[in-house]
Symmetry: C2
Subunit: 151 residues, 2 copies
Amino acid sequence: MSVSGEIADVLTIGELSGRSGVPASALRFYERQGLITSHRTDGNQRRYHRSTLRRVAFIRASQSVGMPLSVIGEVLGFLPEGAPATRQFWMNASVCWSREINARIEKMERMRDRFTECIGCGCLSFEQCALVNPADTLAEHGPGPHRLLEP
Amino acid sequence: MSVSGEIADVLTIGELSGRSGVPASALRFYERQGLITSHRTDGNQRRYHRSTLRRVAFIRASQSVGMPLSVIGEVLGFLPEGAPATRQFWMNASVCWSREINARIEKMERMRDRFTECIGCGCLSFEQCALVNPADTLAEHGPGPHRLLEP
DNA sequence: GCTTGACTTAAACCTTTGTTTAAGCACGAG
DNA sequence: CTCGTGCTTAAACAAAGGTTTAAGTCAAGC
């Protein structure tokens, strides 16, 4: 293990965990899922490149805005294996995530309004309303609003 | 089974499923979770009161705006067992859900902005940013913004 | 009264995102 | 070289929200 305080450019899983704040068990899990990579020492221990720290931060930040790991993995798949990401890559990712988030916010706003409307209108008719578009849930990650946007 | 087209005020699970669009397996699951109730025939089959249709619609509508079943169950717990809900009940529920949804929308907006900012500022510093408030995820259902709202 | 379709149950299984556990090597300080 | 801490694996467990399956029962039309 490196001397305390030293900045290594190769990290053990413990160091990566300590610096990222992500449990080692989660890091191994991410690796099994192909979200991060490592090489091994002669003794079969993982060693991470320093750039993995940024990847892990990206993963956690993305999760915090609700992205599933599968989607995060797809985006990270555009990164070359060993190379550090370009600024352009992060910009693209940011724009991509913003669009996703905005879509989900709009969907929630529509839901909230429809919900309020159906209950407030006096007919209490949300049996119908709620079932107009049963597939339109937050779990769905389609490209757009489908039927819900139509008048 | 009742004659096709007839409107029964007691429903079999198949009828409830057909009219609500919710699979019978899910209805049994909701019943195990205490979200809906039924009485039984001599032959041990479920019979649902017609008002259950509205409860089920409420459950699905609430799920579609991201409410977990546990929270839906708490709200439905305020309904008396056999009685149909009052208009006031649905109004209260609607207001309650709106507040929840608004809180989640605000959280997502903050996340989106922070994400964009951290990547756009040139320092690519979101290792730090993402970890300022690790507990602040979408999964969290706490009352407020905690550290994130502070300047 | 028989057949068929709807219903019953418990238990296993599924996805996602990990954590925990057990048993066993690796590595570095002294 | 030994000691203790850190690392390795597979496999089991967790929670949410159900679905599927197997084996059996009920209800209703002819």
